[in-house]
């Protein structure tokens, strides 16, 4: 490829440090995710009222997923416009599906 | 109900169209010749939508015909290069907005009727009193229909009798696969599902008559032979029919000896699956009023020849896949003929499909069927203990009002 030799050591160092920076973020993300998980399990174990717990743990799950997508899967970086578009379309179709199956199969 | 129509400018067009459409089909079957409230409302909706569609179609076709004639390449124009227009915002807005308006006109009655058809609360008289509700439990089975009149101890198969003076409410479920209950000239269809829920709908026939019902959901080889009848009779005749039906019992003995013999054979070979008199639904149709049936097994001409073939072959070729083929009996010609003779005595009384067609109207407010209907006051307290002995199943109505109603009625007995 054209840009092989262009990458000199200087640049590489720059990338390395930037990657390191990013990796730090990833670890923070991870810590947050673990924390969220603990909260979710904690709420259930503490037998907090269901009307309260269920929305909360669903939101926690949603945020965790966004963490995964944006940080672990790098959707926050450039070149992910189409992936994001498709994932959100998928989420849209998925939400409708779940909503319908959870409500209008009507027992 | 017709508010939306009164303001509609094309009433005249509607009338003409309705006239044309209603020429189509047989009155006992066609959705285009409505004889029931529901069918009529839907017919209005159809006419409205056809008018809208015709309008759209005419517009499209005028442009289309004009364009195709006017802009055909003519001789000598081979090198003509038309102007390459990109678009036109005014036009594009126009053909976005007008359809939206047309669709809104259609959407309003659509939503209104959707709710109306789902409403199974009791009708009210002009004075505001609630009318008694006749609830019928409908069970669809491969390939026949069973009907039980709640609280009346009457059950039939293949044919339901309904009075013409009021709505009749159906609570429907399937015993096997999905069927769909459709009486085109009275009301639109509703699926009959095997899953725990009961679907509810109502019928109101405006005229006496024998209306054909069809199964509209593919349910196996004989799906196309799963017909039934709705026999709409005047309220007085209906009341009489109910009373006659309540009288019948398995033990009733026919007069002729051969028929008595037939009855015994019937008891030995057939009663495992069939019933005479009020019964919960069984493997085969209830035969209480068999001799009065319009058709044998829903579709065949009612004569002894067909009946003989039916019993002899267990309907194997007549209704492919029907479940009577499992019957274990083995009968000779004479025995079958005796059974036939017995079956032909199964006519509980004077009310039969003819009553729907003979033009006789007997009035009644059906209060005979619903004793103490007058006292439908607030004194539900004392009725508490009566509740428990009722068969609870029938009260699984979805709508709260009904179950209230029901428990009150039941406990009065």
């Amino acid at each position: 490829m054209a840009n092989h030799s262009n990458i000199n050591d200087e640049k590489r160092e720059f990338y390395k440090s930037r990657n390191k920076q990013e990796m730090k973020m990833q670890v923070y993300t991870f810590v947050m995710m673990i924390a969220f998980t603990l909260v979710a399990f904690g709420l259930v174990l503490a037998e907090v009222d269901a009307m309260f717990t269920i929305p909360i743990i669903l939101v926690l799950a949603g945020v965790q997923v966004l963490f995964q997508l944006y940080y672990f899967m790098h959707m926050n970086t450039a070149g992910h416009e189409w992936p994001a578009a498709m994932i959100y379309s998928g989420i849209f179709a998925a939400a409708l599906t779940v909503l319908a199956l959870a409500t209008i199969v009507w027992w | 109900m017709k508010g939306w129509m009164s303001r509609f400018k094309a009433v005249f067009a509607l009338a003409v169209l309705a006239l044309i459409l209603s020429g189509c089909g047989e009155p006992f079957l066609s959705a285009l010749q409505p004889r029931g409230d529901g069918a009529e409302q839907i017919f209005q909706l159809m006419v409205l939508s056809v008018v809208i569609m015709l309008f759209v179609f005419v517009v499209v076709m005028i442009i289309y015909v004009f364009v195709v004639i006017k802009f055909r390449r003519k001789k000598g124009q081979e090198d003509f290069i038309p102007k390459q227009t990109e678009g036109n915002h005014a036009l594009e807005t126009l053909w976005t907005v007008i359809p939206i308006i047309l669709l809104l006109i259609l959407a309003v009655p659509t939503v209104q009727y959707s709710f109306e058809f789902a409403d199974v609360s009791p009708e009210t008289t002009a004075e505001g009193d609630e009318l008694d509700q006749i609830w019928i439990d409908v069970t669809g089975k491969q390939y026949w229909w069973h009907f039980e009149y709640q609280d009346l101890e009457v059950s039939t198969s293949q044919e339901i009798y309904i009075p013409t003076d009021r709505k009749v409410y159906l609570s429907m479920i399937s015993d096997d696969v999905i069927h769909s209950f459709w009486v085109p000239s009275i009301q639109g269809k509703m699926d009959v599902n095997p899953t725990g829920n009961r679907n509810e709908m109502h019928l109101h026939a405006q005229e006496e008559g024998v209306y054909w019902g069809k199964c509209a959901e593919l349910c196996g080889p004989s799906h196309s032979l799963m017909d039934f009848k709705v026999i709409a009779v005047s309220p007085g005749e209906f009341e009489q029919w109910v009373e006659e039906m309540q009288e019948v019992s398995e033990e009733d003995v026919p007069e002729s000896e051969t028929a008595q013999d037939g009855q015994e054979l019937f008891a030995d070979n057939c009663l495992a699956c069939h019933a005479v008199g009020s019964s919960p639904n069984k493997v085969g149709p209830n035969l209480t009023s068999f001799a009065d049936r319009v058709n044998l097994a829903g579709v065949f001409e009612m004569n002894e020849e067909n009946l003989f073939e039916w019993i002899d072959t267990k309907g194997e070729d007549m209704k492919p896949g029907n479940l009577m083929v499992d019957a274990p009996y083995d009968l000779n010609e004479e025995e079958i003929n005796n059974i036939i003779e017995y079956l032909m005595t199964l006519s509980p009384g004077e009310i039969n499909p003819d009553s729907a067609e003979n033009g006789v109207y007997q009035d009644s407010d059906l209060s005979g069927l619903f004793p103490e209907e007058e006292e439908e006051g607030e004194d539900s307290e004392e009725e508490e203990d009566g509740d428990s002995e009722d068969n609870g199943d029938e009260e699984e109505q979805e709508s709260e009002e009904d179950s209230e109603e029901d428990s009150e009625e039941n406990s009065d007995e």
Binding site: A93, V105 | Q84, V177, I178, G196, N197, G220, S222, H223
Partner: protein
């Protein structure tokens, strides 16, 4: 196919070539042949249906067989005829229209075809092993659980296999459009066929997984003792209906959108005008796709979901009429002021407009949830969907086939015969289906093996059957035309229709590398622009260089064959488990082989191009 083209190939090597090809143009031909085969099969089944219904109380075929024919007619036509024929068109022209040398995943493209093909064969094997599926193409549970024999198993597994093929084929097209466009080919310069194919592929991506799951559940219930749809064990039959229609409704737009695309190519070409309202056409396409996901329950109005759900879905469904209407009027105004040539593709397009409008309008009538209580599962619905499918999709497919035939094969179908085909088919079509609207309202439910005498249904059914024969004759004229044309084999130039888009800038049929140099696209309708402003030849966007090409591969065939074999094992179980073992081993083995063995393709060196020059064949 290695570096050079070998022209004088025998039958054996030609066959091998097609079995291993990864060239989208050849895959297009594979789709075309298989799709036509299934179209004729489905058409013959339709003829059986119509003959059975020619008169009341007819006993021409038995009830059980009728249900099998009916099911296979619907399934075959939708999954094995219409979709593949559209895929044929997409494969043939989509990469050319965006100026690409190839699709994004040539290997997966081939795999997609073979999976579809083996899935289709699998489904049809059922005829010979005790009966085809007999529960309608919608396979509603629990009838599909009760159905005896293995018919429904063939349905579930066959569609599963071909569904995977369709899904990966769809992904291939999406990525091709996203990544492979020629320089200057921005999204808003893409031809409408490309746009609609792209959006249809997106619909495939999101709709097919629901079918996949539905079919899995059905398979598990039937073959492995699960209870998803068994009410006795807590199952719920409505789940199947939802899953099927969450897939099923987008599916019908998957079918119609590419057909819209075809007409959006044909009409501008033969009106000699650019498409009116291009950007609103794109917008309408996207909007239809979006709304298409929110309306599926209009197939379930009578299920008893309640008035609230029914109303919501009714209104959402009606909304689709708006973007579709935008399209209709844009086509009409493309014609306005044009210079219309009545070529056969154009005649198909002109036949489409009123026919589809009628079909769409009956669709809106159906969308009126309360009124649907009367229409549902009656012949009114049958009439509706044949108006949109035959009047839209099938006319679109034939318009596209005739239009792009020169591009695919380098020959021109006989115009006169094409006109005959059109008029026979079109006349027969309306004769067949127009009166079915009335049949439905007069009380004739669909999927009826028999209708009874004395119910006023005889005449219209008879007319309908007569109409079907006209359609059959028309189709035969077309097939005859194809045979004669290919026998004569008179070659035509690159641009026989005087068209506007990029695919007409290269030889007919195109060389296997498509574009020697990628073209520079300067606007919508690039070829037209060059015709108007230049000498009518595309300017290259790059200097002549080596061209990278993928290697042929036999793996897609083998991989699909493996699933085909495994399907039998899973179905018959018992001693046949061994087949499942073998089949899955073949598939897994070829997957492993594919991932372990490097496949880097090869290069055509620029020096070699001159040898190819002028030689219309594409190796």
């Amino acid at each position: 196919m290695s570096t050079t083209a070998n022209n004088k190939a025998g039958f054996g090597s030609a066959l091998w070539d097609y079995l291993t090809t990864v060239d989208h143009k050849k895959i297009a031909i594979l789709y075309l042949v298989a799709g036509m085969f299934f179209f004729i099969l489905g058409g013959l089944q339709a003829m059986l249906i119509r003959i059975q219904l020619i008169s009341p109380d007819n006993e021409f075929i038995s009830a059980q067989f009728y249900n099998e024919v009916l099911t296979m007619h619907g399934t075959t036509m939708i999954f094995l005829a219409a979709m593949p024929l559209l895929f044929a068109l997409m494969n043939a022209v989509l990469p050319l229209q965006i100026g690409a040398r190839d699709v994004a995943f040539p290997f997966i493209n081939a795999l997609g075809f073979w999976l579809f093909f083996f899935g289709g064969i699998f489904l049809n094997v059922s005829w010979f092993t005790g009966g085809a599926p007999d529960v309608g193409w919608t396979a509603y549970a629990p009838l599909s659980l009760f159905s005896e024999g293995h018919g429904v198993d063939y349905y579930a597994i066959g569609l599963q296999i071909s569904g995977i093929g369709t899904l990966i084929g769809g992904i291939n097209f999406i990525v091709t459009v996203v990544n492979m466009r020629a320089p200057g080919m921005t999204y808003m310069r893409m031809p409408l066929f490309t746009w609609t194919a792209f959006i249809a592929s997106v619909l495939i991506l999101f709709a097919f997984p629901a079918l996949t799951v539905g079919l899995f559940l059905l398979t598990f219930d039937r073959l492995f003792g699960a209870h998803f749809f068994n009410p006795d064990m807590g199952g719920n039959v409505i789940i199947w209906e939802h899953l099927f229609w969450i897939f099923g409704h987008p599916e019908v737009y998957i079918l119609i959108l590419p057909a819209f695309g075809v007409f959006s190519e044909v009409i501008p070409t033969f009106a000699k005008k650019r498409l009116f309202g291009y950007s609103s056409m794109v917008f309408a396409t996207v909007l239809i796709a979006f709304l298409g996901f929110m309306v599926w329950a209009h197939h379930m109005f009578t299920v008893g979901l309640g008035p609230i759900a029914n109303s919501i879905f009714a209104v959402a469904t009606m909304a689709i009429a708006v973007p579709t209407g935008i399209k209709i009027f844009n086509w009409l105004f493309t014609l306005w002021g044009g210079s219309i040539r009545m070529t056969s593709p154009m005649v198909f397009a002109l036949g489409f407009i009123p026919t589809f409008t009628i079909g769409g309008m009956t669709g809106v009538m159906l969308a009126s949830s309360a009124a649907d209580y009367q229409y549902h599962d009656s012949y009114f619905v049958v009439a509706h969907f044949h108006y949109v499918i035959v009047g839209g999709v099938v006319l679109g497919i034939f318009a596209g086939l005739i239009y792009w035939w020169p591009k695919m094969f380098g020959t021109m179908l006989n115009e006169k015969l094409n006109h005959w085909f059109f008029w026979l088919f079109f006349f027969g079509f309306h004769l067949t289906f127009f009166f079915q609207h009335f049949l439905g309202l007069m009380g004739m439910p669909r999927r009826y093996w028999k209708f009874l005498p004395d119910q006023g249904l005889d005449l219209f059914n008879l007319i309908s059957t007569i109409g079907a024969f006209f359609m059959a004759i028309g189709t035969i004229v077309f097939l005859y035309n194809v045979v004669v044309t290919q026998m004569k084999n008179v070659k035509v130039g690159p641009d026989p229709w005087d068209a506007r888009t990029l695919e007409w800038a290269i030889a007919s049929p195109p060389p296997f590398y498509n574009f020697k140099q990628l073209p520079l696209v300067r606007g919508l309708d690039p070829l037209w622009i060059e015709k108007m402003e230049n000498n009518g030849r595309m300017q290259p966007a790059e200097p002549l260089g080596d061209v990278h090409m993928p290697n042929n591969s036999f793996v897609p065939f083998v991989m699909s064959l493996g699933l085909f074999i495994a399907g039998f094992g899973v179905m018959y179980q018992g001693g046949m488990w061994i087949l499942a073992g073998i089949g899955f081993a073949i598939t897994a083995g070829s997957l492993l082989y594919r991932s372990i063995k490097d496949d880097l393709g090869y290069h055509i060196h620029k020096e070699d191009f001159d040898k190819e020059e002028g030689d219309g064949s594409n190796g």
